[in-house]
Amino acid sequence: MAAAATEPPSPSGGSESARRVKSAAGGADQAFQLSLRAAGLAVLIIMGGIGLFLFFRASPALAVAGFKFLTTQAWEPDAHNFGVAALIPLTVLIAGVAVTFAVPLATGVALYISEYAPRRLRRGLINIVDLMAAVPGVVFGLWGLYFLNPHIIPLARWISSTFGWLPLLGVHDADTDNPFENLTIYESSTFAAGIVVSLVIMPTICSVMRESFAQAPVGEREGAYALGATRWGMIRSVVLPFGRGGMIGGTMLGLGRALGEAIAVYMVITQVFRFQPEILRSGTNSVGALLANRAGGSGPFAVSALFAAALALFGLTLVVNFGAAQIVARTRSGQTS
């Protein structure tokens, strides 16, 4: 049908060409289209302006630091000795711990809500998870500072003394035989910050995953059951494969938020400026925490150096978010126009 409509109706008609279906827009419509385009472009300009302004303000510091900005492990901008060589790996380490905790938890909650929960509970649970996604980071920061930091000591001490031989988990100068051991060495660590951030990002990951699990088609589910699968068998063979894109996309979205979380991390950690890979040991850092700490600003050059760090963070999260958006969009077939 569709093909027939576009073909010339008859060979005898001669030179009949396709009709133009575009109608002449009236004056009001043109104004409307213009204002919509203006809004769209304004959003584009604001978003592009972020990168431009950061780069513009960062350029004095970047001009001085040059390539050393990527290789220096210190933050003394007034001595012209600063770089992100320690900050970026520590940021990634915190985000890595956060994702390691958040993804299994989010998967469990998402599977529970979409596959196991009684129908009458489902609506309420979805609301709770969405509500938790709106809980501000500063609330999690308060919890991390006043509850988690003191209470994490026994756990961190036990992990480091039992699994200390594994990479990242040891605390080399811990003094476990001393009864008056200084226990604050286990506080304010990458591990603590990672747990706090994992709670911040978990609801976001969970709702992306749940939406993709819920899209697993009913026919395939029933097919799996009809072939004798148990519920877990059905989940493994139908729900998880259909939701894989959502799982990866949600994880990357959470990773992006974890990399960018500033306040909750800043409240929990003790800042250091040299890279140290022992995640249970006090002292870590992230670009966001540095920005939150030095945001008051001192000299113009120090502020410029901060903008350079912000630019690095911006670039890092942009790459991750862009990848996440691509993956999520690819799985949302039919909705993309």
Binding site: A25, G26, D29, A31, F32, L36, A39, G40, M47, G48, G49, I50, F53, L105, G108, L111, Y112, Y116, N127, D130, M132, A134, V135, P136, G137, V138, V139, F140, G141, L142, W143, L145, Y146, F147, P154, M202, P203, T230, R231, G233, I235, L253, R257, L259, G260, A262, I263, M267, G288, L291, A292, A295, L306, F307, A310, F314, T317, V320, N321, A325
Partner: protein
């Protein structure tokens, strides 16, 4: 595979000839034996862990005890199920138990964070002056009977209003643009907006600091903070609105155009009202995100302890900023105030969320009973108007003839 549905006594049905009403068959695969096995494994796990914790491993704290008990429970449960069922059923049961416990753990952790905040905030919330006065007269050592956070509450309201005045028209306009316009540019804008939804909020704050404050010479103020919040939630609101508008059925739009409505009338009178519920949700959830973030206002709002009603001059702290600053004080009363401010912030977020769920949350085109009545009334009015016009035309015609 006989594991999931055990043989059941034949249900009494009309076919069975026993008469009486049909009894609804239970299709659930769970039997009493399953429940007994589950409870038994739980009891055994707990007792074994208690034995281990008191006799074998000396110093084990509560957390360690719970972990040991849970692992023992899983092992015992697997063994018990495997006594009379095959491996697939064992894996199924273990997965069920694991998913349930992960869900309970995660939800409890999240609720615990919120509950902890409320619990620690109770001290400050008990004093009425906490909601009615600012911190002008209260130093860090003053008791909780002096000072409050009204300056931060006012600041939050002013800043979020400024942010919404900018983002609602821009965000909705952008979402309409993404749906109404054709070509490569809208696709590019959509990609950029999607990538920006997780823009680190501290970068949004620094952007306003770099542009509005350093380049255009504005001071740290409520206006700058509102702009920073606006930049942060603009992509969030644009993207959520875009998704909602995309769900408006094309047939509605086509019907309107086919009736001769112009594009802007179609957009304003058909597309936007149809998506109104979802758009409300999008805006309110974006607001809830923006209202709680410290990072955008950290560099732009400035800190003060007195009420400031003028957004263009003077520092204007907001609830999250006050929470953050108070929490970094070593004084007990300031920490109590920080938790109190956090509770106020949480309450605001919860109210926004509840509003979003009450006002919004319906799929495109589905109306609440009240909206339905309004729609019916409008139709009645239209009908009356058409009738009046027809009558007038008929009378005019009659007048001409006569």
């Amino acid at each position: 595979m006989t594991t999931t549905i055990p043989p059941q006594a034949p249900a009494r049905t009309a076919f069975g000839g026993t008469g009486g009403p049909e009894i609804r068959r239970v299709t659930s695969a769970r039997t009493r034996a399953d429940v007994v096995v589950l409870l038994g494994a739980g009891a055994a796990g707990l007792s074994l862990a208690a034995l281990l914790a008191t006799r074998v491993i000396p110093a084990v704290n509560l957390g360690g005890f719970v972990v040991i008990a849970y692992v023992l429970f899983l092992v015992l449960y697997g063994v018990l199920v495997s006594l009379d069922q095959d491996g697939r059923a064992v894996r199924d049961r273990l997965a069920t138990v694991t998913v349930h416990s992960i869900a309970v753990l995660a939800l409890c952790a999240l609720l615990f964070v919120v509950g902890f905040t409320f619990w620690r905030g109770r001290e400050a919330l008990g004093h009425l002056n906490f909601f009615t006065s600012d911190m002008r007269l209260a130093g860090p050592l003053d008791p909780l009977t002096v000072g409050g956070i009204v300056h931060a509450m006012v600041g939050t309201l002013i800043e979020i209003t400024i942010a919404l005045l900018i983002t609602v028209p821009l965000g909705l306009g952008c979402a309409m643009y993404l749906n109404e316009a054709k070509g490569a540019l809208p696709k590019f804008v959509r990609t950029v907006v999607e990538a920006m939804t997780a823009l680190p909020s501290i970068v949004a704050g620094l952007f306003i600091y770099a542009s509005v404050i350093l380049t255009f010479g504005l001071t740290r103020s409520g206006l700058a903070a509102g702009l920073a919040i606006g930049v942060m939630i603009l992509p969030i609101i644009s993207r959520a609105s875009d998704v909602v508008i995309r769900l408006v059925p094309g047939s509605l739009r086509e019907a309107s155009l086919a009736m001769g409505a112009s594009q802007w009338r179609t957009a304003l009178h058909v597309v936007l009202p149809t998506a109104r519920s979802g758009l409300t949700t999008a805006v309110l959830l974006g607001t809830a995100r923006g209202v709680g973030e410290v990072s955008p206002v950290l560099t732009t709002a400035g800190f003060a302890s007195a009420v400031n009603l003028n957004p263009t001059a003077g520092p204007m702290p907001s609830l999250p900023l006050v929470t953050f600053v108070f929490a970094s004080s070593p004084e007990h009363t300031m920490i109590a105030r920080a938790f109190g401010a956090a509770v106020a912030l949480l309450a605001l977020v919860f109210v926004l969320f509840a509003l979003a769920r009450v006002l919004g949350g319906r799929p495109a085109g589905e109306l609440s009973p009240r909206a339905m009545r309004n729609r019916a009334r409008e139709s009645q009015r239209d009908l009356a108007r058409f009738n009046a016009r027809q009558q007038a035309a008929a009378q005019m015609g009659a007048g001409h003839e006569g």
